[in-house]
């Protein structure tokens, strides 16, 4: 179907509408702002020259969001402290409207809420405060006093005569977003979510500059004259000269020198600025470097941060401390601060992050470009929360709170991504969000142990049920203590069927007496003899503590694996010469189960889970010894 067409009432040029629902359009020829009223198209104003736009999106870009195709039909441009951003109007195939925001190349898609309900007055808003909006609890993340810079293309409403606009950005801890636009009365409410650039499947993007235009922009340092290249020019708010370190603002037409250094320490970043690395499927350039430090108990701890830039993917950060690397990006949402046990915690994206450390971080050294105003000796209060391998960090300055989410990355992965020579520096100690090599293992070991206990019980039950316990000999005797020659032999009995153990039980009628039986089990055919003895004693009585007993009237001995054959016992009893005659019996059983052995097996199987648990605990103890909450180690065995 051909697109609706009209004629510009100002210049007469044809105006082709991409979207039939457009209320406002901009004539591409004379830049008049045109508004459709019924069938008429009237000029209501003119668009000023729009600022240079670093966004890869343009009018006519197509993409998909939530399985619905869209076309970018127009945009509203705003300026704020960190530069400019676009609100791109999306005309969905389903006939609905949406907005794609691209501030600092962080993409989010919003839809306007037709009946927003109660919206808090702008005068009541404070950053961090929570509000119930449209059925969800949102916290105010930023209040942006933006300046309207212009419009382009087609919009679903009249929007051209604005000046300063207050936006309240709100977020939940699971990444839902809301924006209140106070430019109208009643205010507009939009709800949305963050989206990855790749997930939008954008096509017909602004062409990447090629040829001579592809050169990075730059200028000469106003302090020392050295050439300075800019790779993220339209975003850069501060650049530190690689020669003299002077901090300058390239966005100012006169390039102001913001800070100079009389004497400058030379620090060589492990990843040289200008390096290009392949991360998350995209090429990123290292455009900035800073060294920061904290002082804890009088000791200074320094770490390095690298700022990475990709024209479409935006900014990422890498941090390195003693060989431990983190891949960091802005947190997409507003974590909810809470407590976990006796220490602070933060809830974010369905995970609980345990408070690790709060310290004042100082910027010691800066190199390259930054999309924010940065100075040496800048300070921010940094609070880290960990849920390995993730770390959630809040940086607080008097002006704002910025949340970022880092993921622990092995140094080798960084080295490979940037094809750096040699090996990464070895990691020293255990880092706050370093994944434990034992994470989840102890639980798995204990789970397996439980299974093996069941298996052992099953084997034990089978053994108890299948053991022969065959009575192969039984004899009763009376021993008269004091007899000259008390030894005797039993009749021959057979250990048949198969080689097995043999239990010899002795039962007596002892009363406050003892008997010792020297016994020898002798193979009648080979003469092999097994010597052993059993002492049986049994005493009882009563005293001031009541009645007591000691010992037992019976005992037994188990001889292991005896070959099949004919055997007899030689028995030689001993006792007090003056004691009464002692009656006793001897029972020989073949193939007797021994439950004690299963208990030993349970103990042997217990060793690996205990070792893994101890190692896991030791790893977590090393992690938390660097924390403000060292005694509150949470353990690290519940995540994998």
């Amino acid at each position: 179907m051909p697109a609706p067409r009209a004629t510009c009432p100002n210049c007469g040029a044809p105006v082709e509408f991409r979207w039939s629902g457009a209320v406002q359009a901009v004539c591409p020829h004379c830049r008049s702002v045109l508004v459709r009223r019924d069938l008429d198209l009237s000029k209501v104003g003119e668009v000023a020259e729009l600022p240079a736009d670093p966004s890869p999106i343009q009018i006519g870009t197509t993409g998909r969001f939530e399985n619905d195709a869209f076309t970018v039909t127009g945009r509203i441009v705003y300026a704020y402290d960190s530069g400019t951003w676009n609100e791109w109007h999306l005309a969905f195939q389903a006939g609905t409207s949406g907005w794609l925001s691209d501030a600092q190349l962080e993409y989010s898609v919003y839809r306007q809420i037709a009946k927003p309900g109660d919206i808090p007055a702008d005068s009541t808003l404070t950053v961090g405060q929570r509000y119930g909006l449209h059925g969800a609890s949102f916290a105010v993340t930023t209040l942006t006093h933006a300046h309207y810079r212009g419009v382009d293309g087609e919009l679903p409403f009249e929007y051209w005569d604005k000046e300063d606009v207050l936006f309240a950005d709100l977020a939940t801890e699971d990444g839902q977003l809301a924006t209140i636009d106070y430019s109208e009365s009643p205010p507009f409410l939009f709800r949305g979510i963050y989206v990855d650039f790749d997930a939008l499947q954008l096509k017909n993007l602004k062409p990447v500059p090629a040829g001579p235009e592809a050169k990075t922009s730059g200028f000469n340092c106003r302090n020392c004259g050295a050439a300075i290249e800019l790779r993220a020019a339209l975003f850069t708010k501060t650049v530190a000269c690689t020669s003299c370190g002077a901090l300058q603002d390239p966005s100012d037409p006169n390039v102001l020198v913001l800070q100079t250094f009389a004497k400058r320490e030379r620090i060589t970043p492990r990843i040289p600025p200008g390096s290009r690395g392949h991360l998350h499927g995209h090429d990123f350039d290292v455009i900035g470097f800073q060294r920061r430090s904290i002082v804890v108990d009088g000791e200074t701890y320094s770490w390095d941060e690298y700022l990475l830039f990709n024209r479409e993917q935006g900014f990422r950060y890498l941090s390195e401390y003693q060989g431990h690397w983190n891949d960091i990006r802005n947190a997409r949402g507003m974590p909810r601060q809470t407590r976990s046990g006796d220490k602070p915690a933060a809830l974010f994206n369905g995970r609980t992050f345990d408070g690790f450390q709060t310290a004042v971080a100082r910027t010691d050294y800066v190199l390259g470009e930054f999309p924010w105003q940065v100075r040496a000796n800048d300070t921010a209060t940094v609070t880290d929360y960990v849920d390995p391998p993730l770390m959630l960090s809040a940086e607080r300055t008097p002006q704002e709170v910025t949340w970022s989410l880092g993921e622990y990355v092995p140094g080798r992965q960084i080295w490979d991504a940037f094809t750096l020579p040699g090996d990464p520096p070895p990691a020293v100690g255990v880092y706050a969000n370093q994944p434990s090599p034992y994470a989840g293992k102890a639980a798995r070991y204990w789970g397996l142990y439980a299974l093996f206990v069941l298996l052992l019980l099953a084997v034990c039950a089978v053994r108890l049920l299948s053991a022969a316990r065959e009575n192969i000999f039984q004899g009763s005797y009376v021993f008269q203590p004091g007899t000259q020659e008390a030894s005797f032999v039993t009749p021959v009995f057979e250990i048949g069927s198969r080689a097995s153990n043999v239990e010899i039980e002795v039962r007596t009628n002892l009363r406050n007496n003892w008997i010792y039986l020297n016994m020898t089990l002798i193979n009648a055919d080979t003469g092999d003899a097994f010597d052993f003895g059993r002492e049986v004693s049994y005493y009882f009585g009563s005293d001031s503590d009541g009645s007591w007993t000691e010992g037992s009237m019976q005992d037994s001995a188990v001889l292991p694996t005896l070959p099949v054959g004919r055997y007899y016992l030689r028995i030689e009893p001993e006792s007090e010469a003056s004691s009464q005659p002692i009656s006793y019996s001897v029972v020989v059983l073949r193939d007797v189960p021994s439950p004690l052995y299963y208990l030993i097996a349970l103990g042997v199987l217990l060793l690996p889970p205990i070792v893994v648990t101890m190692r896991s605990s030791a790893f977590e103890a090393r992690r938390w010894q660097e924390s403000d909450h060292a005694s509150g180690s949470s353990g690290g065995d519940d995540d994998d």
Binding site: Y445, V459, D528, S537, V592, P593, P608
Partner: protein, 60 residues
């Protein structure tokens, strides 16, 4: 490491089952080989290989 534990545990359980079936264990007996057949006729002539030992006797 889990696989090592699995193998180790199956070995332990298997050994335990085998030991029980075969009657393996620690013997309380000392073994003397090739005793004379005359023991059956004269039990008093035999002396155990471990010789004498002390007894602990008594009551409370």
């Amino acid at each position: 490491m889990i696989k090592v534990y699995l193998a180790y545990a199956l070995f332990v359980v298997g050994m335990m089952a085998t030991a029980q079936y075969r009657g393996w264990g620690w013997s309380p007996a000392a073994m003397a080989r090739a005793t004379p057949r005359t023991i059956r006729d004269n039990p008093g002539s035999y002396r155990p290989v471990y010789g004498g030992f002390g007894h602990i006797f008594g009551g409370k």
